[in-house]
């Protein structure tokens, strides 16, 4: 699976109780009440374990994490910076 699909699958399974509910890639998690602070920590653990990247504290901001689109871009940047991934 591609990064985007893996992330989307995780978010739908864990935060939307398994139903897509019209979730769009650029829907803000905050605006739509999809994730709370515990959920964000779960998402980070998932990203670190699945893609083998270390998420720095300074990166834990809405700009990097607040939609499928943003997390996908963030993960791809990190994988690129690490020379193509784990």
């Amino acid at each position: 699976m591609q990064v985007r699909e893996q992330l989307k699958h995780f978010v739908i399974e864990n935060f939307l109780f398994g139903r897509e509910n019209g979730l769009k890639d650029d829907d803000s998690f905050l605006d739509n009440g999809i994730i709370d602070s515990t959920g964000v920590l779960e998402l980070i653990t998932f990203v670190e374990e699945t893609f083998g990247i270390r998420v720095q504290d300074a990166d834990l901001v809405p700009d990097n994490l607040d939609s499928i689109e943003k997390v996908t871009n963030y993960v791809q940047r990190q994988l690129g910076a690490n020379g193509g991934g784990a």
Binding site: L30, V40, D57, L60, V61, P62
Partner: protein, 519 residues
């Protein structure tokens, strides 16, 4: 003294001081006061009169703060509705208190299209004008245009209220399954805010961070109290991105950080070794008691910070606080009554009991609510005659024991109301939602002990023959219909539910069984 005076007096004393930091904006006291004055004039021009209810259905934002004070300045009664509230419940609340005005986000303007809200006449939209929102018969006003309208006066409108008039309604879950509005007067709020800022030793130098929704009285009071003391409030929409919040604490030199146990649980998962919090003076906790293990680890993490353990209920705002020097001595206590308030414990006959005896906690003080909006029978269950003629004391329904020195220890509830994250939740409200899911034959909702939430919500259901519902199906159904804090944490499927002799589902048996399972 009235609640809007908090803002007005500070705007006179510190016109150019930062009052509010929110969403990348910094507003001085004068700016907020002027915006609130303009909106108040708009409210009055649109027909809002003394005592009219106006709802604020917004995320934590500059607009939410300005709206609350504008409604008070116009002589109205504000109610802040949780931004995760669904359309049908929002409509119920608006109709229950016959709100004439509503402030809501422009992007949600269509959500009431299918609801019948006959009393609502005016809607102020925050966050940009919308193309023709479908709200038949309602006049739509752009909030940003109003607060920046040079034609509207920046001076406050003439005062109409006195301090025994209503200032706010705060809706809480009711035992009938419908939310009920706690009526608070200006005097109630001013009294509670005065007592709390006294024991927290707040001064104008305090900078308070609030991540809790303003629909929750604990969140709302952070704003009210910051303005009362002439300090600053840093308002975050939520604690969703904890590291971003931590960076805000440091960047803004935050001195006061109110938390609930769910925030403490997340804080203790973070790696904060690299951070220093030299400005942080105090952390407060309420909603549910902090687990003793959290207290110890928070004390290690923030060694020079005063940690206040507190307890309260919306009906009187706050009951007690544990002085920080007692927290290592009595970590299991929620403390003593706050200044200008008396608390005592009574037995089933209403007689005061001595130390070490469990009974119902009673609260006396000018912070005690006026009752539940248009629910005299429910009010009479909570407000009973006090020692003085005409006085009403608050019978909390919470069971406590007091030690020799007057420190309080929580034991549980008299009824089956669940206390989770500090919110009272009626099992019946959730059960009604569960029964609306085809496939569910019987449903019971109970609270089970939880170290972080106080109580976790558990749904116990039986299925109709042939139905094949999963845990996810049940939780999704709930999440689509209930506020976040009311969605059960767990679902248990059973073949049948235990019944009492009269054939009713026995909650007592269920709760005992589930508590046992969890150990």
């Amino acid at each position: 003294m009235q609640v809007e005076n908090f803002l007005e007096l500070s705007a006179q004393r510190f016109p150019h001081k930062t009052a509010l930091v929110c969403g990348g904006r910094r507003l001085a006291y004068r700016e907020i006061d002027e915006q609130a004055n303009r909106l108040a004039h708009s409210l009055i021009a649109e027909g809002i009169e003394r005592g009219d209810r106006v709802a604020v259905y917004l995320e934590n934002s500059v607009e939410a703060v300005v709206s609350v004070f504008a409604i008070l300045k116009a002589g109205g009664v504000f109610l802040v509705v949780n931004p995760t509230t669904k359309a049908d419940k929002l409509a119920y609340i608006l109709n229950n208190c016959r709100a004439r005005g509503l402030v809501m986000p422009a992007r949600k303007a269509d959500m009431l299209a299918a609801e019948d809200v006959p009393h609502l006449q005016r809607v102020w939209l925050a966050g940009g004008a919308q193309d023709e929102p479908s709200m038949a018969g309602k006049r739509i006003i752009d909030l940003a245009s109003v607060v920046n309208d040079p034609a509207l006066p920046v001076e406050a409108p003439r005062k109409q209220c006195i301090d025994i008039d209503l200032a706010a309604l705060i809706y809480t879950s009711g035992s009938t399954g419908r939310p009920k509005g706690v009526m608070l007067t200006h005097l109630n709020i001013v009294s509670a805010a005065t007592s709390i800022t006294t024991y927290l030793e707040n001064t104008a130098d305090d900078i308070i961070l609030n991540v809790l929704p303003l629909s929750f009285d604990y969140g709302l009071y952070q704003v009210l109290m910051a303005f009362k003391i002439g300090g600053s409030i840093v308002l975050e929409r939520s604690f969703t991105y904890p590291y971003a919040v931590i960076q805000t604490v440091i960047r803004e030199n935050v001195t006061g950080f109110p938390i609930v146990p769910t925030i403490s649980a997340v804080l203790l998962q973070l790696d904060l070794a690299a951070y220093r919090f030299p400005a942080l003076r105090y952390i407060t906790n309420t909603a549910a008691a902090l687990p003793v293990d959290h207290i110890r680890r928070l004390r290690d993490l923030f060694p020079s910070v005063k940690l206040y353990s507190m307890y309260g209920l919306t009906e009187c705002k706050r009951v007690s606080y544990l002085p920080p020097d007692q927290i290592d001595i009595r970590p299991g206590s929620v403390g003593r009554g706050m200044p200008n308030e008396e608390v005592y414990i009574v037995d089933g006959d209403g007689q005061r009991v001595g130390p070490g005896v469990v009974g119902e906690l009673v609260v006396r003080g000018s912070n005690v609510m006026k009752g539940y909006w248009e629910l005299p029978a429910e009010t009479d269950k909570m407000l009973k005659p006090g020692p003085l003629p005409g006085e009403k004391a608050l019978y909390t329904g919470d069971l406590f024991q007091m030690d020799e020195e007057g420190f309080l220890y929580f034991f549980g509830r008299k009824d089956d109301i669940i206390k989770t994250r500090g919110e009272k939740v009626s099992p019946r409200e959730i059960e009604e939602v569960l029964y609306a899911l085809p496939g569910i034959a019987e449903a019971a909702v109970v609270g089970v002990p939880d170290a972080v939430l106080g109580q976790a919500i558990q749904a116990i259901v039986t299925l109709r023959e042939g139905a094949a519902l999963t845990r996810q199906d049940v939780l999704r159904h709930c999440a689509e219909r209930l506020e976040d804090f009311m969605v059960p944490q767990s679902v248990v499927f059973m073949n049948s539910l235990p019944k009492t002799d009269s054939g009713k589902i026995s909650k007592r048996t269920l709760a005992a069984a589930q508590t046992e399972v969890r150990g």
